[in-house]
């Protein structure tokens, strides 16, 4: 990657961080806490996605 492109990408990422950090703080403070069963069901879904992506890598 050229230096100018690297600097441009870095500037874009910094802008995203500046914009998103206050929103993330707000959401983190105001969202309800999930129960252990809710987190477990989410973990199962994510494991399913992980294995699906693993299968996809076998096709290429």
């Amino acid at each position: 990657m050229e230096l100018a492109s690297k600097i441009g990408t870095a500037a874009l990422l910094v802008a995203m961080l500046i914009f998103l950090i206050p929103q993330a703080k707000n959401i983190y403070a105001n969202t309800r806490k999930g129960t252990s069963s809710e987190w477990l069901s989410f973990a199962v879904i994510i494991c399913g996605i992980f294995f699906f992506v693993l299968i996809l890598t076998k096709f290429v």
Binding site: T31, E38, F42, I45, L56, V60
Partner: protein
């Protein structure tokens, strides 16, 4: 009498939710088609890789500063098309790069199919179970910020393993966002179909580009 009022309110809320979901998916499919057209245009015109940076910057400006002011008017739809058109244009050079690989078309097609399958599967799951995934908000936003910091670090370090880890983390986080955003439409967390569309569009785009990266890596290219 009170029971009747509650029933009327419930049915009007259900109708509003159904309308929101229908409008969101109609606009989402139209914007996806439109960005496919702009991406094809970028490939045909052989636009340079810097297009991605410029188009993404322009799209972020529209998303952050213009869309919140126009989301409640018809102008919001135009802004959504402009944003997704720019993001599609930015995707063009990346697709050109992958398509030029020996098994490039297969990588792109697999990434496209995989993204579609994840989107349909998770949206279908959230819509049919009607589970409330609002508890994921803090976790997903924090995870995304960590991913952005890692990406920033890796621009200058250039570690392939870190790049691959970031892509894998983005797929997991975007999968969570799909559940979170779909659930928000059902449970009233999101009532504006323009904002719901742009949220889902960006999630799908991130999912697609990360999957493309992982599949490109898996095929040793």
């Amino acid at each position: 009498m009170q029971g009747n009022t509650i029933t009327v309110r419930d049915s009007s809320a259900i109708l509003a939710t159904n309308k929101l979901i229908r409008n969101t998916y109609i606009l989402l499919s139209m914007t996806l088609l439109f960005s496919a057209v702009t991406a094809t245009l970028a490939i045909a015109l052989r636009l340079p890789p810097i297009t991605n940076l410029i188009a993404t910057g322009g799209a972020l400006v529209l998303m952050w500063f213009v869309l919140p002011r126009t989301a409640n008017s018809s102008a919001g739809i135009g802004v959504v098309f402009a944003t997704t058109g720019l993001l599609g244009l930015g995707l063009g050079p990346l697709l050109s790069m992958y398509l030029s690989l020996p098994n490039g078309p297969q990588i792109v097609a697999t990434a496209l199919g995989g993204t579609g399958a994840i989107f349909l599967g998770l949206s279908g799951y959230a819509l049919t179970t009607k589970k409330d995934f609002s508890y994921l908000g803090g976790f997903l936003f924090t995870g995304f910020i960590i991913v952005l910091l890692a990406s920033l670090l890796n621009i200058f370090l250039g570690i392939p393993a870190l790049s691959l880890t970031v892509s894998a983390a983005v797929i997991m986080i975007m999968s969570g966002f799909l559940l979170y955003q779909t659930s928000a439409m059902i449970h009233g967390g999101e009532t504006n179909y323009v904002l719901a569309t742009i949220g889902l569009y960006v999630t799908i785009l991130n999912l697609f580009t990360s999957l493309l990266h992982i599949l490109g890596f898996a095929s040793n290219e």
